[in-house]
């Protein structure tokens, strides 16, 4: 369980509950993006989600400028400690039920190890509901992340085996 600097318990217990609630949002879900120190490429891919090739509006997702209107936070970057403030404030300002999507390898602990400058992964600061790996995750992967977050798509990685010999060896 992550505990933020103010001693506020960010509960991860109700994650499942929140996901079920998000499913209720069905085809109208609003997204706010927060950048906690990305290299600007994840931002570029997120911007392209609204572009004609991906057009996330057709799936019922919308970007919103204010976390007050958001159901879902898309967080990029390795959670730079200097950005704690904005991350926690944005999380606080988002009404419940809400979900957090950690976007990209940085946000999942891949690039920057935890040190005095960065937390190294978003789930050390906020309870994360969906993880989208990739450096950067392609817009398709981001779409999949969104659909997984609202339970409209089954995730595939659970069934994925990296052992290429597993089938034949078994």
């Amino acid at each position: 369980m992550a505990v933020d600097e103010r001693g506020l318990e960010l509960d991860t217990v109700s994650t499942e509950l929140r996901r079920r609630a998000l499913r209720l949002f069905g085809r109208s879900l609003h997204i706010r993006t927060v950048d906690s120190g990305s290299c600007a490429v994840c931002e570029s891919e997120i911007r392209l989600l609204a572009a004609p090739h991906y057009d996330l509006h057709r799936l019922g997702f919308f970007f919103t400028p204010a976390p007050r209107h958001a159901d879902l936070l898309m967080v990029t970057g390795p959670a730079v400690r200097a950005a704690d403030n904005l991350l926690l404030k944005a999380y606080d300002a988002t009404p419940d039920p809400k979900a957090v999507i950690a976007v990209g390898a940085c946000a999942l602990g891949g690039v920057y190890p935890e040190d005095s400058l960065v937390h190294g992964a978003i789930d050390r600061v906020l309870p994360v509901d969906v993880f989208v790996p990739g450096c950067p995750p392609s817009p398709l992967a981001l779409l999949q992340g969104l659909l997984v977050a609202v339970g409209r798509l089954e995730e595939r990685v659970g069934a994925l085996s990296l052992d290429l010999d597993a089938g034949s060896a078994g």
């Binding site: 927060v34 007050r68 403030n85 904005l86 991350l87 404030k89 944005a90 606080d92 300002a93 419940d96």
Partner: protein, 673 residues
């Protein structure tokens, strides 16, 4: 009844005289202040009752007092003075309730309160003067006493200048008033005001016009009509709060009284152009007053400019009324006189309230600068509520009194089409448009004047530490109550004012003013109408609906209240709020040719290195009347004085020689005849 009116006036005078004496004797102690306030307040109550009776009775009374060097001083309380006497009493009561908590006992306070109570007396004398001498003596005493009021803190910077400006302009105005009366007195051969009024129709048109124009300008100086207004923003901020309240609440209304006295009583039935000129002065004063108010950061200077605006509205009503009368639309003329009187009382009420509360704000937070205030609604909740009532009233929002009188003014002006001359009709509608612009800007201005100090975060440490324990409440609260009554009780007020107008003009328009009892109509049954009372009830009802819905549908689940979303910054700084100037910025940009602003910017980033740091931005409006009207006049006077300097050597022998020469010339002239 008439005896009661006279007795009450005398009682009020006695109360104020006694209050002045008590102040002189006991003003150095708190008990003395209290006693003075009680007497002053009692005098005020007497004046209120006197004013009400006078209006209801619709006839005056006359008193003769001893004989002076130029004849007996006659005092005659006429119905036209009723609203003013009532306002005088109301202001006196409110200030009496306010004063003891506002002032610290001391010699200065003792003198000040003595002067103030005498000024109340002098004002009553102006309003009840029956002949020219009494009027002029009372007027000049009132002016001098006000001068002393402003000088209360004469050691502070700017006070002497403000007071001097007041007395200098007041004296110029006085000169014009003396001339106006002199013309009428010589042409009618009487000093008695009733006598002048009775014989005025026999005076030649040229003399009458000269007298009216001189009176308009002379009283315009006191009322604060543009361009005679420049003493208001200079004198108001430097006077004590109750002094400013008295000046704005009452003294400038005496100027209105003077104009109404000339226009409707002494030389009634003047040509249409009198009305048009008066209306023009009024409309321009209203627009310029509010435009300058919007640029003002000093709360009291702001209120002073707003007074100019309101005087403009009142004088517009008077002028339009005179115009309608001249074109035979007497009913609308009387209607507009009623509007003017109504707005006079309204403005006196809420402006006094706001000045008194400005004093509370200044006392508690140490500043009048809007850009150093903020967040006072949490620190001064009572003040905030009372101020809100005053602000809603002065911004002419329903259902309070300011809305009713301004609505009536518009209904009057929009009937310009009833005038046979299209040109005049259009001029009246233009005046209406200017007043409409004023109304819109006034809402902006008062949203700013209330929002900047009361809402948001404190912009200075002093504002953050303000507290209202032991601050006066009762006086402003009384006025807030009066605002509500004058708004919702409009039918009652209008009934009384109708009697005043009937007694003054001889025309009763009650049947074209109130149908049936609670609905106000503008002198014609086929134009428009509304009921302030029902409107108030309706507003209360529709406010109740969402409250009920909220109470009934209050969410059962626990709700979370996260802080305001600020973009994730570290901390929200007071300097991240709109300032008073930026609030008015759109107006500033629109009216830039008028303001001719001078802008001064200092910033670290002017150093060309991508540096950032402190920014200082200052903005000043060019005071165009001061710079392009008064300064040249002053320069001219100085230049003339310089020309005269060579003959002023200071040598006594030379002066004796001058005397000798003059005597010689006099003899020569006499001899030649």
């Amino acid at each position: 009844m008439t005896h009661a009116i006279g007795a009450l006036a005398i009682a009020a005078s006695a109360g104020w005289l006694a209050a002045a004496g008590v102040a002189l004797l006991g003003g150095t102690r708190r008990v003395g202040l209290g006693a003075c306030a009680v007497l002053s307040g009692a005098g005020g109550v007497a004046a209120v009752v006197c004013g009400v009776l006078l209006a209801v009775h619709g006839a005056g009374t006359t008193l003769h007092l001893g004989a002076g060097p130029v004849g007996a001083a006659t005092f005659r309380i006429a119905p036209l003075a009723a609203p003013f006497i009532l306002l005088l009493g109301l202001v006196a009561v409110a200030i009496a309730l306010y004063g003891p908590r506002y002032h610290e006992p001391g010699r200065g306070t003792a003198m000040y309160l003595a002067v103030y109570n005498l000024a109340l007396l002098a004002s009553l004398a102006v309003l009840s003067a029956g002949n020219v001498v009494a009027f002029l003596v009372a007027w000049e005493s009132m002016a001098l006493l006000c001068y002393l009021l402003i000088l209360r803190h004469h050691e502070r910077p700017g006070v002497a200048e403000g007071a001097f400006l007041f007395i200098a302009l007041s004296e110029i105005g006085f000169l014009m008033i003396v001339l106006a009366f002199a013309i009428l007195a010589t042409q009618t051969g009487t000093l008695d005001l009733a006598g002048i009024a009775a014989r005025a129709s026999r005076v030649g048109a040229g003399w009458r016009s000269a007298a009216y124009v001189l009176a308009l300008c002379g009283f315009g100086f006191k009322a604060g009509l543009v361009p005679f207004h420049i003493w208001l923003p200079a004198a108001h901020p430097v006077a004590p709060a109750d002094g400013s309240a008295f000046l704005s609440g009452l003294v400038i209304k005496l100027g209105v009284y003077g104009i109404a006295l000339f226009g409707f009583v002494l030389v009634p039935g003047g040509p249409a152009w009198w009305g048009l000129v008066t209306m023009g002065f009024g409309a321009i004063s209203a627009v310029l007053g509010i435009l300058y108010a919007l640029m003002e950061r000093d709360l009291k200077r702001f209120l002073a400019y707003s007074s100019i605006e309101n005087i403009g509205i009142i004088v517009t009503a008077l002028g339009a009324g005179m115009t309608f009368t001249a074109y035979g639309q007497r009913a609308i003329g009387v209607f507009l006189l009623i509007v003017a009187l109504y707005h006079t009382v309204n403005h006196g009420t809420y402006k006094t309230l706001l000045f008194l509360e400005a004093g509370v704000i200044e006392h508690t937070s140490g500043t009048r600068d809007l850009d150093r205030l903020g967040g006072l609604i949490r620190r001064l909740p009572r003040t905030a509520v009372i101020c809100l009532i005053g602000t809603v009233a002065i911004a002419a929002l329903p259902p309070l009194n300011g809305f009713v009188s301004e609505w009536m003014l518009f209904q009057g002006l929009f009937q310009g089409f009833r005038i046979s001359s299209h040109l005049v009709g259009i001029l009246i509608v233009i005046a209406g448009a200017l007043i409409a612009l004023t109304g819109g800007l006034a809402i902006n201005a008062f949203a700013r004047a209330y929002g900047i100090p009361f809402l948001g975060m404190p912009r200075s440490g002093q504002a953050a530490n303000a507290g209202e324990t032991r601050q006066p409440v009762a006086g402003p609260a009384l006025l807030a109550g009066a605002c509500v009554f004058l708004g919702i009780g409009a039918p009652l007020v209008l009934t009384a004012l109708d009697r005043v107008a009937r007694a003054t003009t001889g025309l009763d328009i009650r049947s074209e003013l109130l149908v049936p009892k609670l609905t106000v109509i503008p002198a014609h049954t086929d134009f428009s109408g509304f009921s302030p009372t029902y409107l108030a009830l309706f507003l209360l009802a529709i406010t109740a609906v969402p409250i009920l819905i909220f109470l009934a549908g209050r969410p059962r689940a626990r709700s979370r209240r996260p802080p305001v979303w600020d973009g994730g910054i570290l901390e929200f700084k007071p300097r991240m709020q709109y300032t008073a100037t930026t609030h008015a910025n759109p107006v500033r940009v629109t009216f830039e040719p008028l303001y001719r602003p001078s802008v001064h910017v200092e910033r670290a980033s002017d150093d060309p290195a991508g540096r950032s740091g402190p920014v200082h931005y200052r903005f000043q409006v060019t005071p165009i009347f001061d710079r392009y009207l008064y300064r040249p006049v002053i320069r001219l006077v100085r230049a003339l004085a310089n020309l005269a300097r060579p003959i002023q050597s200071g040598d006594v022998n030379l002066y004796l020689f001058y005397v000798f020469v003059v005597v010689l010339i006099a003899y020569a002239v006499y001899a030649s005849n």
